[in-house]
């Protein structure tokens, strides 16, 4: 279980995360939010890549707030696959083994489930975007994380590829039965993937009963301010 309590973060005078609290059980929690609302910042704080100003993070009742990323046992899947370019796909996926994490047998199973058997000996640059996403997910899952943090890992993909990948990703993630915190700005992605939903509006997180409700809240917030700003374009997608 992942528990976030009263998290805040500012960059200079810019308050990006405002007193965020959230509990994620063994489920896929999707956080919907517009560009720049603080989604990535929140995930990076949970992963330990950024430090928060305030608040606590508990993973399976263990307070990890002060721990560096390597001691948190969280899985982080960034927006761009960010594979290790100088390593083959196989070496990418087996990376965690170097640190004594994960198990060979599990990795073989992951490779099969994510259908990447045939690209194992390729270099990441030789892969299509869809396969890079598969490998990125496999690399992270291989380390048997206690929590998954996913930062729009599919947002750079073509719609058709995305539609194919989402159910597969969901199946793999559900099988593990760990908390998954998945952020996106895409409503259909949220609908297809999520068990429970939240929306983030300018650093404030609130629960919603459904993806549509979360999206509705975001839509309402937007009509208050600049309708002609870049956010408008985002909403139409």
């Amino acid at each position: 279980m992942l528990k976030i309590a009263n998290l805040s973060k500012s960059f200079g005078t810019h308050k990006v995360i405002k007193n965020v609290s959230l509990t994620v059980g063994s489920e896929i929690r999707v956080v919907l939010g517009l560009n720049g609302c603080g989604k990535s910042t929140m995930l990076k704080i949970v992963a330990g890549i950024l430090a928060s100003d305030n608040g606590k993070i508990l993973i399976d009742k263990r307070d990890v707030t002060a721990l560096p990323p390597e001691d948190r046992h969280v899985g982080y899947v960034p927006q761009q696959a960010s594979l290790f370019k100088h390593l083959s796909v196989r070496e990418n996926i087996r990376y965690c083994l170097r640190n004594g994490r994960g198990a060979e047998a599990d990795i073989d199973q992951l490779v099969e489930m994510l259908k990447i058997e045939n690209v194992l000996d390729k270099k990441p640059e030789a892969l299509s975007g869809g396969f890079q996403s598969r490998v990125s997910l496999a690399r992270t899952l291989a380390s048997q994380p206690h929590v998954m943090l996913m930062d729009e890992p599919l947002s750079d993909l073509d719609l058709a590829i995305k539609e194919k990948l989402i159910p597969e990703f969901r199946k793999v993630l559900k099988k593990l039965g760990i908390p998954v915190l998945y952020v996106t700005h895409d409503l259909s992605e949220a609908q297809l993937l999520g068990d429970r939903f939240s929306c983030m509006i300018e650093g404030v997180l609130s629960d919603a009963d459904s993806a549509e409700k979360a999206f509705g809240l975001i839509r309402e917030s937007i009509s208050d301010y600049d309708l002609h700003g870049p956010a408008q374009h985002q909403l139409r997608n």
């Binding site: 390597e70 982080y76 960010s82 290790f84 965690c96 994490r101």
Partner: protein, 264 residues
Amino acid sequence: MDGSLMNKIMNKDLITILFTPLLFLLIIYPIVALLTNLEVPGVRETLMDGLFWDSVKNTLLAALVAASLCVILSIGFGYCHLFMRNSLLYKAANLMNDLPIALPHTVAGLALLLAFGRTNFGFAGPTGLAFTMIAVVLAMFFVSYPLAARAVASGVDQMDLESIAVARTLGDTPTKAFLRIALPALREALFSGFVLSFARSLSEFAAVIMFGGNVPGSTQVLASYVFTKVEEGEVAMAVTASGFCIFLSLILVVLVGQGRRRRA
């Protein structure tokens, strides 16, 4: 100037018209002037001068060692640039990369002399480290290191930081992530840092002469050989040695160009 002529000039790319003669006068002409002064007896005399070859050997050897040291230290700077941006150590290191720009290299040489000379390093020999090949290397290193450090820093700036973040969540300490992920990504930056600092070291004169001295056959480098020959009135020999320096730089330029093309 009548209007139509003015128009003609403006149409014919004014900037090129200004740039071309200045390039030739200020940059190409001096090189040509040097090379046209090459003459056979001077070349022969120089090539038979053992001290000339000693200075070539000293230059290449010291520059090689200095550039290697530069790369090793700049790897450390790269680590600070990546993981310790807010630390005092990083800020001090960063300042030391910029400070030497405006510093006369005689000042660098004097600083090294006072630091590693007889007073503080008397145990290492009658003159401390001064006037030895170690001094030549240290002088070259001191003035070249900022170039390597900056090359590595700009390499770090272009790096995919998310891949480092992922490596950390997969269990890497900062050191492991740096060695396994960052360093391979910095290969090109390290190479260009090496070439830049090697080139800078080859050309160093002031700091080398202050701290390493100009002992023919012992600590004399090409730059100081040229200086000595001019002082002695052996201009033909100075010109030959200078031609050799141009030849060396040219090789370096070609090598770098080839490396760049291979990587592209």
